[in-house]
């Protein structure tokens, strides 16, 4: 009885509650289960790292968590709502209010300035233009890029572009920041900068930070790590071992 109550309480504090989440892609006659029955709970304020080899389904899982796509089967409860059952309009609403995305290739709009790129994140909110611009400048100041506001992405370094992307993710003050290989296209020093920035923001703002990465150094900074293999979640101890093994490989290499 006591155990059940505790469990319910624990579940209630969970931000995400995934049960048997499966994502099936059909290509001609071939069907691929990118995700094959994921059971996962993510607490509010966690710094979670998703690791796995190429094609293991980590990006697909991130898409599910960011409501970019719906699972084929299973349930994905976010704050009490089943994302699998939401319509396209509600998904858009959820994306624009709850999540902030950071992409490996930054995904800035090449024609817009840093400030305008940050503003795009607040466009779906239909706020006034001057308010939108003010918030974008604040967000850029938060990533130390206020002086680069008028530059277009091609005039910025990779690290600066990713900072703009982070500012764009943060300008809406989302509950969850989802980052897909955020340091994949950056050199080591810039990587440290960006991860340092994300960590700092996570600590200061108490947001949930979910990062997909190959990088064991990045993974090492997380409060929790999960390991995906062929669309399935490895048991925690296996995850630890795999992580150690890949770390060893890195050392040997």
């Amino acid at each position: 009885m006591t155990v059940t109550t505790l469990r319910t309480l624990e579940e209630a504090s969970m931000l995400y509650h995934l049960t048997g989440v499966t994502k099936r892609y059909t290509q001609g006659r071939k069907t691929i289960d990118a995700l094959a029955g994921i059971d996962l709970q993510i607490a509010d304020g966690e710094f979670l790292v998703i690791q796995g080899s190429t094609g293991s389904g980590k990006t697909t899982l991130l898409q599910m968590l960011g409501a970019l796509d719906r699972p084929t089967s299973g349930s994905l409860i976010y704050e009490g709502r089943d994302v699998a059952k939401l319509g396209e309009g509600d998904l858009g609403e959820l994306r624009s209010h709850s999540y902030g995305f950071v992409f490996q290739s930054f995904n800035l709009i090449p024609t817009l300035t840093a400030q305008e790129n940050v503003e795009t994140a607040r466009v779906p909110w239909h706020v006034r233009g001057d308010e939108r611009r003010r918030r974008a400048m604040e967000a850029l100041a938060g990533v130390n890029l206020a002086d680069r506001a008028r530059h277009i992405p091609s005039e910025l370094s990779g690290g600066e572009q990713q900072r703009v992307a982070i500012a764009r993710a943060l300008v809406r003050e989302p509950k969850v920041i989802l980052a897909d290989e955020p340091t994949g296209n950056l050199d080591e020093r810039t990587r440290d900068d960006i991860i340092g920035l994300l960590e700092e923001l996570w600590r200061e703002r108490g947001q949930t930070l979910i990062v997909v990465t190959h990088d064991t150094w990045v993974a090492g900074r997380a409060s929790r790590r999960i390991w995906l293999e062929a669309g399935r979640l490895m048991p925690d101890e296996t995850a630890e071992r795999s992580a150690e093994r890949s770390a060893a490989e890195v050392v040997l290499a």
Binding site: L68, G92, R95, S96, N107, L112, A121, P124, R168, D180
Partner: protein
């Protein structure tokens, strides 16, 4: 944000945008130039018809003379007695125009009363032949004397004077007169005329001795406003000089209808009725009605006349209708296709961009709107450039087009016995084919400009709709695609 984004995106791929805009511009320019050209040809046709026919006249009614009518006229120039030989003589003869039989003036009222007829007026065209000379001293054979025509009179067979045998010079001068209904000058022979000096008839001058003279005749005979002109022995005051469009079949002088009837002993008779229909649609029905009411009359509509027009004007018209139209349509279709393909391919290259925006929560509608906005701006630019090119093209056509010739065929005009041509209106146009020369101008109307810009915008809309449809099908998950 909407306009900033459109502006930046178009600036980024300005070459492609310019190419799309120019494609649309060429299509639109062709539409403008061809339409302007077609409009010019149509105006030229109207001009020809008006000059032949009179503005505002939809139908004319006349009756072909029966054999023998309007035939040779006795001038009474046989010397009455020996005593008069060597004396001068001076004769005037006024007759109704040959080949046309007089109609009772009451028919005008009959026609005016028909359904679909807005107005009808009658006119009476006359020829006046004035012979002056000396009676011959010696009675000779019946061969014609040396006569010199002092005017470019129509050498109609029925009016050839049987000159008396004479050695002495005889002057024959002839001129044509139209009796016009002064109560309605908007319809009838004077409708296309313009009084350049003096004044026109007033409605009260139904029986006044006043006349209008054509500019050409006035010049030829040194007549001015205020001068007196003797017609059939009666002095008429010239109140105005009238100019008629080139090529029109005009009389030399115009006098009130009642005076013309009196002078030629044709009281209550007319030989041409001009009819105005209520609307263009009712013309055919009115024609049938008139034919029923006046079975013997020749009824001619403007369309009948237009069908007779041949020559370079007619070629120009078929050029505009056939080649020009299809060229413009083909260019537009090609421009629309190019615009659509370029837009769709541009969207395809922006998969990650739109995916990212969707991941940021942008609604599909907003992204479609963005793509539409970009291509509408391109379309608008194409429209503006196209209109400019089209206007330039139309100017070139106006500047360099040669004068067009319209020929009224003589093939359909029946030639009656004695050379008196029949066929009502056609006859009135001259004995043989009559050629009218008009200058072609390609006019640009506001409607045409609006149509052109509308077409370019439609092209932009089509391209944008296809591109937008492509963009709306992108999934937000595409934002995470690694390949680029």
């Amino acid at each position: 944000m909407f306009f900033t984004y459109i502006y930046r995106e178009l600036r980024r791929r300005h070459r492609q945008a310019l190419l799309t805009a120019l494609g649309l511009a060429v299509g639109v320019a062709l539409v403008v130039a061809v339409s302007a050209y077609a409009g010019g040809v149509s105006n030229a046709q109207d001009e020809v018809l008006h000059s032949l026919y009179g503005v505002g006249t939809d139908i004319t009614v006349s009756q072909t003379a029966k054999l023998g009518e309007g035939g040779p006229q006795q001038f009474g120039m046989q010397p009455p007695s020996e005593a008069k030989r060597g004396k001068t003589f001076n004769r005037d003869a006024i007759t109704a125009s040959p080949g046309q039989q007089a109609l009772a003036a009451s028919k005008v009222q009959t026609i005016a009363g028909l359904d679909g007829v807005s107005a009808a007026v009658g006119s009476l065209s006359l020829s006046s032949i004035h012979v002056q000379g000396k009676f011959a001293q010696i009675s000779g054979g019946s061969s014609s004397g040396g006569s010199s025509s002092s005017s470019s009179a129509q050498p109609a067979a029925g009016a050839t004077p049987q000159a008396a045998p004479s050695q002495a010079p005889i002057n024959v001068s002839s001129f044509s007169i139209s009796g016009v209904d002064v109560s309605d000058l908007e319809l009838g022979p004077l409708s296309s005329g313009e009084v350049t000096t003096g004044r026109s008839f007033t409605t009260s001058e139904t029986n006044a001795n006043v006349a209008l003279v054509t500019k050409a005749y006035a010049k030829q005979n040194s007549l001015a406003v205020g001068d007196l002109k003797k017609i059939g022995g009666v002095k008429f005051e010239i109140i105005g000089i009238v100019t008629l469009p080139s090529g029109s079949t005009s009389s030399d002088l115009y006098i009130p209808l009642a005076r013309a009837q009196k002078l030629s002993d044709n009281s209550k008779k007319v030989n041409q009725i001009y009819v105005r229909a209520d609307s263009a649609e009712s013309i055919a029905a009115v024609k049938t009605e008139i034919k029923t009411a006046l079975p013997k009359a020749t009824v001619t509509t403007a369309q009948d006349l237009a069908d007779q027009v041949s020559g370079s004007l007619s070629s120009a018209s078929s050029l505009a209708d056939n080649l020009g139209k299809w060229l413009a349509v083909a260019a537009l279709v090609a421009a629309f296709a190019v615009a659509s393909l370029l837009t769709v391919s541009a969207v395809s290259r922006r998969v990650r961009e739109f995916g990212t925006l969707k991941a940021l929560g942008w609604k599909s509608r907003r992204i479609v709107g963005q793509v539409l906005g970009e291509s509408m701006v391109t379309g608008l630019a194409g429209g503006v450039i196209g209109v400019a090119l089209g206007i330039a093209g139309a100017r070139l056509i106006t500047a360099f087009s040669p004068a067009l010739k319209a020929t009224m065929g003589s093939t359909t005009a029946q030639v009656g016995p004695g050379g008196a041509p029949g066929g009502g209106m056609i006859e009135a146009l001259g004995n043989a084919a009559q050629t009218v020369t008009v200058q072609l101008a390609a006019p640009i109307s506001l409607n045409l400009v609006l149509l052109a810009v509308g077409l370019a915008l439609a092209g932009g809309l089509l391209a944008g709709a296809l591109g937008g449809w492509r963009a709306s099908r992108l999934r937000p998950a595409d934002a995470l695609r690694r390949l680029d």
